[in-house]
């Protein structure tokens, strides 16, 4: 009789693992996958692979009790909030943090607006604006966030959220050019130098239609948020020359193609640039002379949040210099927290991809929300990709 032993094996494997995971669960209060009854606030050290800072800074200010149930539903970018920070927060406040991730702002909208219950979200700048316009954000109670003073004034009161009514900056970073100097000896200064015939099939760029169009706008001296049909037509002509030269479109990990030698240069996020330059000296990072877009990710509280005060507590917590430093240690982006920057390694501060110079910063613009023009832009780029 041909008994399905292997089905049984698989079930046994599953049953076995169920049993094992059951054994693991008690008293881990701050990791994402615990059961619903709140567990004691103290957590054993280092239960994650990241920074070993389970011993949170001892000099914290006293933390007020918000009166809400001790839960926080955090909805953030994947791998953008270090586990150690979450653990430290739980240890300090006794609030358990449930983490759910997303990989794009649009995914975040989709899930937020279709029944997601989140207390804190991490939108990019244009997303903050879109959400404000749609009335989806809850105004911040600034008195609960005194640490806001640590933020660089350059990053406060930005066009997408005047006076920071709804959001607090988390991390920022420009888009830029990375060049493999072993394969490319030219002096690359901007987009025009990248998109040359001689680099055909050697280029990687972000798979983000809005970004791509903004580079064309920068080159044509059009303000990047001035998305009109007329301007798009002009950009289309330029892009029709650029895009056939591209070998790879990748927003998730453009560094792969560069490291593998399949491409020689590219236009990528600064986080990727920082990883590449730290990995091998042959990679050079350049801010395009035509100008570039700087993204600013922020923390904000949705209107439907059930624990807004806990959320404000968390925001204030991550604005502490030592905590903010922990975030920077994990992610080589631009930290807008000046007090934290004073604590950073000189090496980290010296990485040009993470911390552009003042004059480079001046060449950077942020995105504003363009509503349904996003679809037209995507259309344009897709059409050009297909040819």
């Amino acid at each position: 009789m041909k008994t399905p032993r292997h089905l049984l094996a698989a079930t046994v494997l599953a049953a076995g693992s169920l049993f094992l995971s059951g054994c693991d669960k008690p008293a881990e209060s701050s990791s994402p996958a615990t059961e619903s009854t709140p567990a004691p606030a103290s957590t054993p050290a280092a239960d994650s692979a990241s920074a070993p800072a389970a011993n949170a800074p001892a000099d914290e200010e006293a933390v007020a009790d918000t009166g809400e149930p001790k839960v926080l539903n955090l909805f953030c970018w994947s791998e953008y909030v270090p586990q150690a920070v979450i653990d430290a927060f739980t240890k300090q406040t006794g609030i358990r943090v449930n983490v759910e991730n997303y990989s794009s702002n649009e995914e975040m909208y989709a899930k937020l607006l279709s029944g997601g219950k989140y207390d804190l979200i991490q939108p990019s700048e244009y997303a903050v604006e879109a959400l404000i316009e749609a009335g989806q954000l809850r105004p911040l109670d600034k008195s609960a966030i005194p640490n806001l003073k640590n933020i660089d004034p350059e990053f406060l009161d930005m066009p997408f959220d005047p006076d920071n009514k709804y959001s607090v900056p988390w991390m920022a970073g420009p888009i830029g050019i990375v060049v493999n100097t072993e394969l490319v000896q030219d002096d690359i200064k901007g987009y025009k130098d990248v998109f040359q015939e001689k680099f055909r099939d050697k280029i990687v760029i972000l798979d983000d239609a809005r970004e791509i169009v903004s580079w064309a706008f920068e080159t044509l001296d059009i303000p990047i948020n001035d998305v009109t049909d007329e301007n798009l037509a002009k950009a289309k002509d330029l892009l029709a020359q650029w895009l056939p030269l591209v070998k790879v479109y990748d927003s998730d990990s453009p560094k792969t193609a560069l490291l593998n030698g399949d491409v020689a240069l590219g236009v990528v996020w600064n986080g990727e640039g920082a990883i590449l330059t730290a990995e091998d000296e042959k990679f050079k990072w350049i801010i395009p002379e035509e100008g570039t877009h700087i993204f600013v990710d922020s923390l904000a509280i949705p209107k439907s949040a059930e624990h807004p005060k806990n959320a404000e507590l968390f925001i204030n917590f991550i604005l502490r210099p030592k905590i903010s430093k922990m975030i920077s240690d994990e992610f080589p982006y631009l930290n807008p927290n000046l007090a934290a920057r004073e604590l950073l390694d000189p090496d980290a501060l010296a990485n040009p991809a993470s911390y552009p110079s003042k004059e480079e910063l001046d060449r950077m613009d942020t995105f504003k929300n363009i509503g349904d023009k996003a679809s037209d832009i995507d259309d344009l780029v897709t059409t050009l990709k297909v040819q």
Binding site: K2, P4, H6, L13, A49, E79, E100
Partner: protein, 276 residues
């Protein structure tokens, strides 16, 4: 040609593996070996790189077992692995059940709109996952249900069972009709006949379907994006999230352990089988 003279038709039960001239046997064997090599090349690489010192997994920079250590302290990764295992196992059971019974019912009985039903089952296979995931999410929310394990299992089962059904249907084609009739003549009810006669006949297709279901569910990303909640993050969700920072070799370590464990499990069951 060839061996016509000496071979005896198989009523004696003697079998050559596989049948046919020696050359063909070696050819098929060699081909199969090549196919397995093709399937396992990236896996071999994966295993080797789980011992690689460099985090980026592109170049070999030295031997280390640190990633295995880090894996065991990476609770959220392990949890996501268990979640995937649980969801995939339950999905497999349900999908196999639905697929087998569904195939049999469609085959045996003249239900009204049978053809229509037969077509409906293809929808989950051809509908893009992002559409299925988002509409199911809306459905769950609209009826006031909650996201998480149950929602994910429902969604996974929905797109896995057609795979089982199609496979079982193929096996049913050309089945000897007298099989079931004989059983019933001997006093079995239709259900008993099904269970005791048809199911054993279908077993290879059921096993194949189960294997496919498990694989599809275990690796499912998009649908899980829409239907999971904070406590039910599955492995693919975790993995996709890690891409920006670079896929840590902990993942390689996890996969290596899983593969090795499965190998041993399978080997053990094989040994047990040989005993009697």
């Amino acid at each position: 040609m060839a061996e016509a003279a000496t071979a005896v038709p198989v009523a004696t039960g003697r079998r050559r593996w596989p049948s046919g001239p020696t050359f063909q046997r070696w050819f098929l064997g060699g081909w199969t070996l090549l196919v397995f090599a093709f399937l396992y090349i990236p896996i071999l690489l994966l295993v080797v790189f789980s011992f690689n010192r460099s985090k980026l997994g592109i170049r070999w920079t030295g031997f280390t077992t640190e990633w295995y250590g880090k894996l065991f302290s990476n609770k959220s990764l392990l949890d996501s692995f268990y979640n995937s295992l649980i969801v995939a196992s339950v999905t497999t059971v349900l999908a196999t059940l639905f697929g087998t019974i569904g195939a049999w019912l469609l085959f045996r009985y003249k239900f009204p709109a049978r053809r229509m039903l037969g077509l409906l089952i293809f929808i989950p296979m051809v509908m893009p996952e992002v559409l299925m995931g988002s509409s199911l999410r809306l459905l769950v929310v609209a009826v006031g249900g909650s996201l998480g394990y149950i929602a994910m299992i429902i969604a996974h089962t929905t797109f896995c069972f057609p795979f089982v059904l199609v496979g079982v249907q193929a096996r049913l084609e050309g089945i000897d009709p007298s099989l079931e009739e004989a059983a019933m003549d001997l006093g079995a009810t239709p259900v008993e006949a099904f269970w005791k006669v048809i199911v054993p006949y279908l077993m290879p297709a059921i096993v194949a379907g189960a294997l496919m279901s498990f694989t599809l569910s275990f690796d499912e990303y998009i649908v899980s994006v829409f239907l999971s909640d904070a406590t039910s993050q599955t492995l693919p969700l975790k993995v996709y999230g890690m891409v920006k920072k670079g896929l840590s070799p902990e993942l390689n370590a996890l996969s290596t352990i899983f593969i090795v464990a499965t190998f041993f499990l399978v080997l053990i069951t094989q040994v047990i089988k040989k005993r009697p």
